[in-house]
Symmetry: C2
């Protein structure tokens, strides 16, 4: 699945079938079973990652970067994929419109303190990529400034990788029509009103400009060290399964082991027995 989702050098988002299920042959029901199976392995691997940081001195971590147009399902990924992992091992960070203080700093200033510590699975719901996506589309920064940010992002991510973070960058990709359906649903259900923002329709009207901004950002920042994946997301069950599999793949690649005891087991058993 991973190979099929990894972006190609000549990424054309308009040419991606957002309702496809690359690398998975079953339908929704089979996908949900696979997700439940994966949840157990993900929880186990997360515990091993966490354990290694606590006694083994292992500083490794995993960072999932989620980017997407509104309604594409970032929230569902967090709830249904990350939600299967022990909350103690998750460092979740949501990046909304920056505050005045954040704006006064370099764009990475607010990002750096939120990178996952040793043993953690970090999740960025939006990220430093907003500074080359909405900033490009809406002209919040000049083209020159945005041009500088791509290599700054590459350097920043390589720094994290060198420090032991495995980075998985995901764009959840829905069709413009699917977004319309999902926004319409939010306007039909009073329990979904809170998720609706009139600004979503404004951004929607800039769809093509966003797709172009994504293509440029992804092309300029994709690498084997910090790879980008474009996940078709019209089918929520598939997008969740795909992101879970990408995370599983990243964790399996760490070759995790339970850390050995850093104390004398028999001596401790004797001490304990004496109490």
């Amino acid at each position: 699945m991973k190979e099929l989702l990894r972006v190609a050098a000549d990424l054309d988002l308009a040419g991606v079938d957002t309702s496809a299920t690359p690398g998975f042959v079953g339908g929704k029901e089979a996908g949900e079973v696979a997700l439940a199976d994966g949840a157990e392995e993900l929880a186990d691997l997360q515990e091993q990652l966490f354990a290694a940081s606590r006694t083994g001195g292992d500083t490794r971590s995993v960072l999932l970067v989620l980017q997407a147009m509104d309604t594409a399902g970032k929230g569902g990924i967090v709830k249904h994929v990350i939600g299967s992992v022990d909350p103690q091992g998750v460092a979740f960070a949501s990046f909304k419109a920056p505050t005045d203080e954040e704006k006064a700093h370099d764009f990475l200033w607010r990002i750096r303190p939120r990178v996952p510590g040793p043993g953690m699975i970090g999740v960025f719901d939006r990220s430093h990529y907003e500074d080359v996506l909405i900033h490009r589309v809406r002209g919040f920064s000049t083209p020159e400034v945005i041009e500088q940010r791509y290599p700054q992002i590459v350097d920043f991510e390589l720094e994290l990788v060198a420090a032991g973070t495995t980075i998985v960058k995901v764009m959840l990709h829905i069709s413009k029509q699917e977004q319309k359906n999902r926004l319409a649903e939010r306007l039909e259900r009073p329990d979904k009103y809170w998720k609706y923002n009139p600004g979503d329709v404004d951004e929607r009207q800039r769809w093509d400009a966003y797709m172009e901004a994504y293509e440029v950002a992804i092309a300029r920042t994709d690498s084997d060290e910090a790879p980008w994946y474009v996940v078709p997301a019209d089918r929520k069950w598939y997008a969740r399964l795909a992101v879970q599999q990408l995370l599983l793949d990243a964790l399996r690649g760490l070759d995790l082991q339970w850390p050995p005891a850093d104390f004398d087991v028999q001596a401790e058993q004797k001490r304990l027995a004496a109490t």
Copy 2:
């Protein structure tokens, strides 16, 4: 269940049956079914709390404070009770031994930035109570300083309550024998070694002093505004169910509603249709 777990004025921890299941008549299997049922309601109420903070301007939050002797099951509560809630709505904070910088400040300095924001369920795995528990038992602070901290804690918590935080303070209470069993298990299983710390046996040898410190701390800081509950925790399934029920009760008490639309629904439907 809540009334049965709320501490009495003359709390005597040694007199509590740590294997009891107050307020629940079934056994383990029924308890696990009840936990699964409660998980759905907890997730729904959490979403409403979160939603209210996002559009309704509601600043309310919930804070669960977990205190316990080692192995009593704090981690299991976080994993199995809090784990059923959307990670986006959880602010988890674990308070380990303070750093030098933290020690140089007032004991509440490191606590304040971690209190839950509007719409969040905060969880403290250990807390400001360490500064009147281990500090008393081990003499890390003078009796005079500790004596000052009780009213400081009361004031701090009342401040949070006034700002809209519902506080639920839980001591998970296991027997000394049960702790011995659990520590022994950690020494028998290589996948549990990482949870074992030789210092745990040192603290265990001060069991009675800890029980006394808990009794004093709880008596000095219990109030209707920031109540303490002592949850028998020898049976893990019961402790999880009990803490879940305490959280459910706190959330139900907020009388949450889906926030009304803060935009013109029909006008937005028209705008969307035109895109």
